[in-house]
Symmetry: C2
């Protein structure tokens, strides 16, 4: 006897912006929604770089998924790794079980792409999940502790930080590192010549923030240069070791830290599902976001190769994920198919204290303090949960007024030294 549910079962893979938007859109609908994620929390990815640079607590940018849906009774949560799907029985395969579905929404997000660059995978620090941010924060602070204990390590590159990728994430990380060093670590490490710390931002294109307008690109470059960041456009990383970064130009940087903000690709889940993929491993979808040959399955957000009005792939951005998530939810409950239409709400990147660029619809272009205020406001209102909003707001106010970075903590399990055991 087959399991006949009272209502259609919707399974959403991923509790990112897209997955949450889809689940919320199904509030009140006659469906039973299950969100599957390997983490029990939603991560507010746009602010991960602030966790990595000690501006925010890890808990400020994470929100328990179950808490988000206390009041939406048709949503439940399952913490698991998704490992595959059996399309013949409409069953999702988890690391610790299975999950049947009538409708599937694949919203598994992005992961880092290293383009086969030697050592980048092993030694690079990506910034996609919360523990990435904690690992980078620990690593950066440890480099300073190490150099303080043994200043000869500075010549070996302990205080040279290479950021690869001149998109918003790379620009934000480079700017935030510069502020962390200049405002806080300079005071923390009185014996160390913190001015010897270098931040090198490497970008393959000739400009930073490629999709932005030229004035915004120039603004970002000028501000970063003012802040002491060495901007290397038209340059690329070809090889990485724990202590060296080799560039395409032949230059070898002595550096113990490579932040990988360059390549992004869809979660490899797409391959495990045996569905057609496009550039960067993104799942091919129809105009209504259905996956080819699977009418009851949708791909949304970063993992989907969604085509815009001009035939170009939509960028891997939160607004695309949110809008496509809502669209998939509506497709599930309505009888007729409708094409997805993306409404561009603009894009922003912050560089540092009162420095940002924002490009909004109707050709509104902001930079400097107005852009920075717009960036702060937008991120505050889009954060999940009033408590996190309050905490982030207070941290920002604190950091702004005191030039402090409270959570500059190296938090990782102790590795007891052998003589103590």
């Amino acid at each position: 006897v087959p399991d006949v549910p009272d209502v259609a079962r919707v399974v959403i893979i991923g509790a990112g912006f897209g997955g949450l938007a889809a689940a919320k859109e199904l509030d009140g609908a006659p469906v039973q929604v299950t969100i599957v994620d390997r983490h029990n929390y939603h991560t507010f990815q746009p602010l991960l770089y602030q966790v990595a640079t000690a501006g925010l607590n890890a808990a400020d940018v994470a929100y328990a998924v179950r808490g988000i849906f206390h009041k939406q009774r048709n949503v439940s949560f399952r913490q698991a790794d998704v490992t595959g799907v059996d399309w013949s029985t409409n069953t999702l395969v988890l690391d610790d079980g299975t999950l049947p579905f009538d409708h599937l929404v694949v919203a598994a997000g992005p992961t880092a792409a290293y383009f086969g660059i030697d050592g980048a995978d092993e030694h690079g620090f990506p910034l996609y999940v919360l523990t990435d941010a904690i690992a980078l924060r620990n690593h950066v602070l440890e480099r300073f502790e190490e150099a303080d204990a043994d200043p000869s390590l500075i010549d070996d590159g302990a205080l040279c930080f290479v950021v690869v990728g001149g998109g918003p994430t790379g620009v934000e990380v480079a700017g935030a590192l510069s502020e962390l060093f200049a405002m806080v670590l300079r005071k923390d490490f009185r014996m160390l010549d913190v001015s010897k710390a270098r931040i090198v931002l490497v970008e393959m294109a000739d400009v930073l923030l490629q999709p932005f307008s030229s004035p915004s690109q120039r603004h970002a470059r000028e501000r970063l240069t003012d802040m002491g960041v060495e901007v290397r456009t038209g340059e690329a990383v070809v090889r990485v070791t724990p202590t060296r970064v080799e560039l395409k130009s032949g230059e070898e940087l002595a550096s113990h830290t490579l932040v990988w903000a360059a390549g992004v690709r869809a979660n490899p889940l797409a391959d495990a599902f045996g569905v057609a993929t496009s550039r960067a491993g993104r799942i091919v979808v129809g105009p209504d976001l259905r996956i080819e040959d699977h009418d009851n399955a949708f791909a949304i957000g970063d993992i989907a190769a969604i085509t815009g009005p001009d035939g170009e792939l939509l960028p891997m951005l939160a607004p695309v994920a949110i809008q496509s998530g809502k669209h998939a939810a509506r497709e599930i409950v309505r009888p007729h198919r409708n094409p997805f239409r993306y409404r561009d709400k603009g894009t922003m990147a912050t560089i540092g204290r009162r420095a940002a660029v924002a490009e909004l619809p109707l050709h509104i272009r902001l930079s400097g303090t107005p852009a920075w205020m717009a960036w702060l406001g937008l991120h505050l209102v889009t954060l999940a949960g009033f408590r996190n909003r309050l905490s982030v707001f207070l941290n920002w106010a604190w950091n702004y007024l005191t030039w402090d970075r409270g959570p500059r903590l190296i938090i990782k399990p102790d590795q007891p030294s052998p003589p103590r055991e």
Copy 2:
């Protein structure tokens, strides 16, 4: 040519309450102080149990040591593991170097003592360092996720939490777990019968909170029992496996979690230093806190076997650490030796929402809401750093008003499932 410093070099091992108090007391003194700690932050241990039970962020109870001494110019910090000492040259041996000293203050704090109980070391969760608290929080929340995915695990003990030790830490953990389950996880896990979760508090003595007065002991027991905690006094744990806890009475509890709040001993550093130790591995000190046979070395706080007026060992409490730290600092700078005199400021333990016991000097005894307010106030004012105080205060206010526990996050590095690799 020997290295002749301009001023005496004071090395303090440990950035706990005692170490910080000693360093602060040396403000303005003609000495160069170096604090050595394996962590780059001071941990506010009395609130670790709230991190473990998702009431506070990890960063709320940790404060960067370097930040504490921005304005005290004669203090520097070294992050390292101390592995030994060469008394003949007055040199501290670190995992990555050495550190010469003229005066040494050993303030390395406590660690868990398992009394050789089979499996307790391997499977028990102690609560001494910040990552202990994070590990326990992850483990508890994972047990609920696991039971939610497979309710048959409840019968196997997935939701049975055994807390060993009826002192303040054990009482606090048991009470906080009970509130976490009743207030938050019951709403988080709608499909799960959270009332099946058990908390068993095991204490070898016949009473909880042994050093407290009988009325306080009874109050704690009654409140915990009201909150659903099973209090087992006159009982002990004899064996622990990942899924079972065997008691002295012969009973075997199906339980996947053992919180170890029972045994505490001095940091094993005492042995590595080759100095005389007393009960629980604490370093034998003279009346002025000097270590036997080492006139330039002091032991303070939990690691020191300090004798009180009646010849008894002083308890391992923050006030003892703070007062003994100040005393050691004063001994270093003054010409004549003075005996240490401990001034008992009382002791407190919190049980839950508006439930605590406090025993203050002059036989003032509080319980219930007044004790809880006193506990909150004392912990707020003794926290390091205004920012942490503000954050803890706001978290407490939030938790109290909303019955929420925001940071119920399972934060640990991803272990990618094999099929994805």
